[in-house]
């Protein structure tokens, strides 16, 4: 076992882990931040996406010890401390960007990372960026709409489809 420490959602976090402990297991089991989901555990689905030093990564495909000293943000750190939803979260709610909600934490983390780099993405850019996030319910349509809306763009054209 080894000691690991990092900042998670702005708070210091530490614990004992094995070399093989995945970041997602440290977040869910040690820190009890269960918003980050494990959909596939084979690096395909993106339900486990978190930000490490600002970059979207699959927390099931990184070891906890690799995040030593890093700034980690999970879905629990996206809303304001008083519970006010972020623009992306709010738009997912308003545009029905989720059904069962299982993929939603990863979708929100990926979409948030996209808008940081590209504040006004086109529909094609959104679909391309979310390629690594799989949703079994929505058909993606309303997710794309939500991301367009969160970036302050007109969703009329997408709604017509």
């Amino acid at each position: 076992m080894a000691q690991v420490s990092m900042s998670v959602n702005g708070q210091p976090a530490e614990g004992e882990v094995e070399g093989r402990t995945l970041l997602v297991d440290f977040l869910r089991n040690s820190l009890e931040l269960t918003g980050t989901h494990v959909g596939c555990d084979t690096s395909q689905c993106g339900a486990c996406v978190v930000h490490v030093n600002g970059a979207a990564v699959k927390a099931c495909t990184m070891f906890a010890l690799e995040a030593e000293g890093a700034e980690v943000t999970t879905i629990e750190g996206i809303a304001a401390p008083d519970g006010t939803l972020s623009a992306v979260q709010q738009a997912f709610q308003e545009h029905h960007g989720l059904q069962c909600g299982f993929c939603t934490p990863g979708m929100v983390m990926s979409a948030t990372a996209l808008l940081k780099d590209n504040p006004r993405p086109t529909e094609a850019e959104i679909r391309e960026y979310l390629q690594g996030n799989i949703c079994r319910c929505t058909g993606y349509h309303n997710i794309v709409k939500a991301v367009m809306a969160a970036s302050g763009q007109d969703v009329g054209a997408i709604a017509a489809e």
Binding site: A2, G19, R20, T42, Q44, G46, K58, T61, M62, E66
Partner: protein
């Protein structure tokens, strides 16, 4: 996963020393290695993380004009930082997997792994790149030895990849939609005196140069120059995604599209 330790050296020298230990293995982005560890396809006693070694990261232009990419540079960094200097390679990097994979995965890890469907090997072959390790320089033509096999020795690390930047280049990837790896991927490179064509995903022997197409393109760089050529289906991969004939056909179509797009 079996149990192992993780070591995080900050210099190449320390990493090489750690890799001398029996059953130690390098960990770069982990985007291939971690899934293989989960499947218990590898059983290292120690993983030596390369992520903290700054000296093998980044992109620079050498005095002779070649583009030098550190072995630990991520696909995402190549997509961004090579865009003006080598748009063909940046375009290839930008289509690997998805953004989260590109934020972790590295060019060194991809070349060392030599997956028969990996993207970079096609560019390395087409451009005649040099793979620089801690102990020698290996020409791309001598580096890839078949499926998942390379000229790398035990504990040898890719520190840099050097590309003579082509006048024009392009990568066309026909995606296998479930894995997003190429079903067939073709990289073409136009130089003053030659054309390079590297093909990945198609052959049972791994990445290869399509020599006939290179000859045709050397004197006439156009999609039409390939019209009379065909690729034999013999030795192409057969799986549920496509027959050997289908892949052979795709090689030609993707090469023509790449030449047309490169201009």
């Amino acid at each position: 996963m079996y149990a192992f330790e993780i070591e995080k050296p900050t210099t190449l020298a320390d990493a090489l020393a750690a890799l001398k230990e029996e059953d130690a293995q390098a960990l770069a982005g982990g985007q291939t290695l971690i899934p293989s560890l989960k499947a218990r396809l590898a059983m290292p006693s120690k993983l030596v993380s390369l992520a903290g070694i700054e000296e093998i990261k980044g992109i620079c232009t050498a005095d002779d004009g070649r583009l030098c990419i550190g072995g630990g540079t991520t696909h995402g960094a190549i997509a961004r930082e090579a865009a003006d200097r080598f748009p063909g390679l940046a375009g290839l990097a930008a289509k690997i997997g998805d953004p989260a994979v590109r934020n972790r995965g590295t060019i060194g890890g991809s070349l060392a792994n030599n997956d028969p469907s990996a993207c970079y090997p096609s560019a390395a072959l087409a451009c005649g790149a040099t793979i620089v390790t801690d102990r020698r320089e290996i020409a791309a033509g001598e580096f890839f030895l078949g499926l998942f096999e390379t000229a790398l020795e035990e504990g040898e690390l890719i520190t840099e990849v050097r590309f003579e930047v082509p006048e024009a280049s392009n990568y066309q990837k026909f995606e296998q939609p479930a894995s997003r790896f190429p079903l067939v991927g073709v990289f073409v490179a136009r130089y003053a005196d030659r054309g390079g064509v590297g093909v990945t995903g198609a052959s049972e022997g791994g990445v290869f140069r399509w020599n006939e197409a290179e000859e045709a393109l050397a004197s006439n760089w156009s999609a039409d120059a390939l019209e009379g050529l065909s690729v034999p289906a013999d030795g192409m991969i057969e799986d549920l995604h496509g027959t050997p004939e289908y892949r052979a056909h795709l090689v030609k179509v993707m090469t023509q599209r790449a030449v047309a797009a490169a201009g």
